[in-house]
Symmetry: C2
Subunit: 154 residues, 2 copies
């Protein structure tokens, strides 16, 4: 599996929950019971999101968390970056050092293109999109979603 960690998955669940009611503060406890994720785990994720400036926290009694921006302005790519680091499939896409392949690793450029594609896809999708019901019945999306990536090489 092209795996995303569980924590990232939780983060999207938590943020989606908050995006649905963006007018008030949500305490960690409230989020935990609403989402079914254990409180310590929720707390851990919220802290990371605050550090990444995706959330704003208010301490003390009646405190809690709120989105730092409108849901339309928070991309899924940003959420993933917080929990997983840079979005890249292979190690050498991040750091070009340490690749000790004897023969020329000519496929690095190909990978970077693939990474770019995926990154763009995730960048275009926002929290606001996540909480809208999707019409999977719409047959148009199948064509629309195809990416002519192979053609880039010709």
């Amino acid at each position: 599996m092209l795996r995303l960690s569980k924590l990232t998955d939780y983060a999207t669940v938590i943020l989606s929950f908050m995006a649905r009611d963006n007018t008030q503060l949500h305490a960690a406890m409230e989020i935990a019971s609403a989402t079914g994720i254990a409180l310590p785990t929720v707390s851990k994720i919220l802290k990371l999101l605050v550090n990444a400036k995706l959330l704003i926290s208010t301490r003390g009694a009646k405190g809690g968390y709120a989105l730092a921006r409108a849901p339309e302005k928070i991309s899924i790519a940003a959420v993933i970056s917080v929990l997983e680091g840079p979005i890249a499939l292979t190690e050498c896409s991040i750091s070009h050092q340490g690749c000790e392949q004897a023969s020329g690793c000519d496929i690095r450029d190909s990978w970077s293109l693939i990474n770019q594609t995926i990154h763009n896809a995730l960048e275009a999708l926002t929290l606001a999109d996540m909480i809208k019901p999707v019409q999977l019945q719409n047959p148009a999306w199948k064509q629309e979603i195809l990416i002519p990536i192979a053609s880039l090489y010709r």
Copy 2:
């Protein structure tokens, strides 16, 4: 990082090497020294690729491995699937059971759409594309690669 395992990375390197000279058999030993990957590891990966029918093996003296199909017919998605299992970002995209979120997990459909996008991107790219030199100088690709995924929700 949206991580792909090292083994998957190695597999693409190995397959690229083989695709460059698809006319003869390559022994595991030869591939190991050409790519700089340790022999036991190469061997392990080759076995997996044979089981997945991406390679054909010939036993005995003068034996070795060869691509089962032309490089144009081997997609990167297929390679990734062999080493990582189904291409999906979240657990629930594979099995819809065991998701114990208390409140409705409405974002599952969104994830499946994202997964589909990424899968299509990887499906469109083949081994043949990987061994071609990429012209990153071409400024056109930046526009071309944008995916109107957000628009799908409107």
